[in-house]
């Protein structure tokens, strides 16, 4: 029985009263700003707090014809694909190692999530300290074993900054992915592996024929949510490179931020946000249409 027995007015209203606070909260903090951003995208507002005048679709024309905006999409593709590949690989590797009973294993299962829960600023400091171009330990190690002759500032290097930032972000996020994959692994029926052992299937084959397909639903959710979350990353990039050097790490969120808070074109930033949201919506639609796992 779910509480629906008593049909008095109060008990009918109760569930609405219970969800009201969170709904009000979401409407205020998401839908109100969504309304504002839509409206501002048609105004030539500059600084925050000023009011521009209505200019129709001009902001959209500016954004859609801006080479910098589309270049930031290129960086975002690189960023999302790099993170997706690296995080998924590391998460599977870790999850398969930890998917067995044992006291020590269970200790690791809890504590390996630690890189995910620490603040991004701390993650940034960790790796900036290790990768530092003048006295970082990595450069020291590479020089002393003779791989490079003189230290390189990896984070500030046009070619290296993106892969290095992807690595750092992966370090921050793969533990979360691992937990989700582990959760998926625990629901796979052990007997399937036993049957495969009897049939003489090797571990590698078992992974691709049993483990991987069984995780369909979870991989789908991870693919969707993980892509959006990676796309969304702003703080790590802003702290480490602010989008530089020379725009090498200016992904879409960084681009929008710079237009709004550094170039003071709130209107254009709003139009860019709307176009971006529309692209993401299309991605979500396509992903759900073509990526949904089939129910057997």
């Amino acid at each position: 029985m779910e509480f629906a027995g008593k049909r008095s007015g109060w008990s009918k209203l109760l569930p609405y009263a219970l969800v009201a606070p969170i709904i009000a909260w979401i409407l205020t903090t998401i839908f109100w700003p969504l309304g504002t951003v839509t409206r501002e995208s048609f105004y030539n507002t500059g600084f925050v707090g000023t009011q521009g005048s209505f200019i129709g679709f001009d902001n959209y024309k500016t954004v859609l014809s801006s080479g910098d905006y589309w270049a930031s999409w290129g960086k975002s593709f690189y960023w999302v694909l790099g993170n997706g590949f690296l995080q998924t690989s590391l998460a599977f590797l870790t999850a398969l190692l930890l998917n067995r009973p044992g006291r020590l294993i269970s200790f690791f299962r809890t504590w390996m999530i630690i890189p995910w829960i620490i603040p991004t600023i701390v993650v940034a400091i960790f790796w900036q300290w290790i990768f530092n171009g003048s006295y970082g330990i990595l450069n020291h190690a590479l020089v002393s074993i003779g791989i490079i002759d003189k230290p390189i500032n990896l984070i500030g290097d046009t070619a290296w900054s993106m892969p290095i930032l992807i690595f750092i972000n992966t370090w921050h996020w793969f533990p979360f992915m691992t937990i989700i994959v582990l959760a998926g692994l625990t629901i796979i029926d052990r007997e399937m592996y036993e049957a495969a052992d009897v049939d003489g299937a090797g571990k590698w084959k078992q992974f691709w024929t049993i483990t991987f397909p069984s995780l369909g639903k979870i991989m789908f959710a991870l693919g969707l949510v993980g892509t959006l979350w990676s796309f969304n990353v702003f703080d790590l990039i802003e702290i480490l490179t602010s989008g530089g050097p020379a725009g090498a790490t200016t992904t879409v969120p960084l681009y929008i931020y710079q237009i709004a808070f550094e170039n003071f074109h709130i209107g254009q930033a709003s139009a860019a946000s709307i176009v971006t949201a529309a692209c993401l919506l299309i991605f979500v639609g396509l992903f759900i249409k073509f990526g949904s796992p089939k129910d057997e």
Partner: protein, 268 residues
């Protein structure tokens, strides 16, 4: 052969996770004249950087602000999530799936696209440069995921218990407080930690919504310390250690529930 390979991979992964912690923590205790030298094992130990961090920077204020915002986020988030989860997972009402979908959509919504309009909204409400603005937005980011996490915990309480309570004449609210809540204490701990951590680690909105030095939270304050004194690695590493300490302590106490809660929520 397979065993040895597995062991090597495990050790590499372990080092990958542990080394950055070790390196920053050990650096923070090295005297200034040794911190830049890449010595793996420090041979002298000092608390100088920590002392200076408290005495000469805004660290104390940043810490207090972060604690206030995180505590309030935790409280508000638990206060809105528990009743909403109870209604969504335990009651039938028209629009239930719509509410659930709205909350899930919020959870995957790219919040960064709201940075500009949220700033404008807070400016309209005269909340820019107020800690309230951070509390409000942190709850928005913490609550939807927390509701998702609660599903596993609510499902673990048999519905038969609700029925028994109803037969004894308990109304829904009494059932929630006397039957369900005591049984899902680990779940409450999980969403409380999640709220705390979300707020404690938040950087983007805190960097835009807070404009005065006195109201900065730790991550933004630490960025300022780092930017102003790029050479002061002693302060930067000590600040990093103190910033991650509360999260680690919190996690040491409740981490088990947290990971279990994540796992329970994920398989749904």
């Amino acid at each position: 052969m397979v065993r040895a390979g597995r062991l090597i991979v495990a050790i590499v992964l372990l080092l990958l996770i542990v080394f950055p912690f070790y390196w920053v923590i050990s650096s923070s205790f090295k005297p200034t004249n040794q911190i830049l030298k890449p010595e793996f094992f420090p041979h002298s130990f000092t608390l100088e950087h920590y002392r200076q961090l408290f005495a000469q920077t805004a660290y104390k204020h940043n810490l207090l602000n972060s604690v206030l915002v995180a505590a309030a986020t935790l409280a508000f988030s638990v206060a809105v999530v528990i009743p909403a989860s109870f209604a969504i997972y335990r009651m039938k009402f028209l629009g239930r799936s719509l509410v659930f979908r709205l909350i899930l959509a919020t959870y995957i919504f790219p919040g960064i696209l709201l940075l500009v309009p949220v700033y404008q909204m807070m400016s309209t409400l005269h909340l820019v440069d107020s800690l309230w603005s951070l509390i409000i937005i942190n709850v928005t980011f913490a609550a939807p995921f927390s509701i998702w996490l609660m599903q596993g915990f609510f499902d673990s309480v048999p519905k038969a218990l609700d029925e028994a309570a109803a037969l004894d004449g308990a109304g829904p609210m009494r059932t929630l407080t006397t039957v369900i809540l005591p049984l899902i204490r680990p779940g409450i701990a999980t969403i409380a930690i999640y709220g705390f951590i979300t707020s404690w680690t938040e950087y983007s909105f805190a960097s835009v919504l807070i404009t005065s030095d006195a109201l900065r939270t730790l991550p933004v304050g630490l960025k300022a310390i780092m930017g102003q004194y790029t050479v002061r690695w002693g302060w930067t590493t000590a600040g990093a250690v103190l910033t991650l300490l509360p999260v680690v302590l919190f996690f040491a106490l409740f981490g088990k529930f947290f990971v279990r809660g994540l796992t329970a929520g994920a398989v749904k």
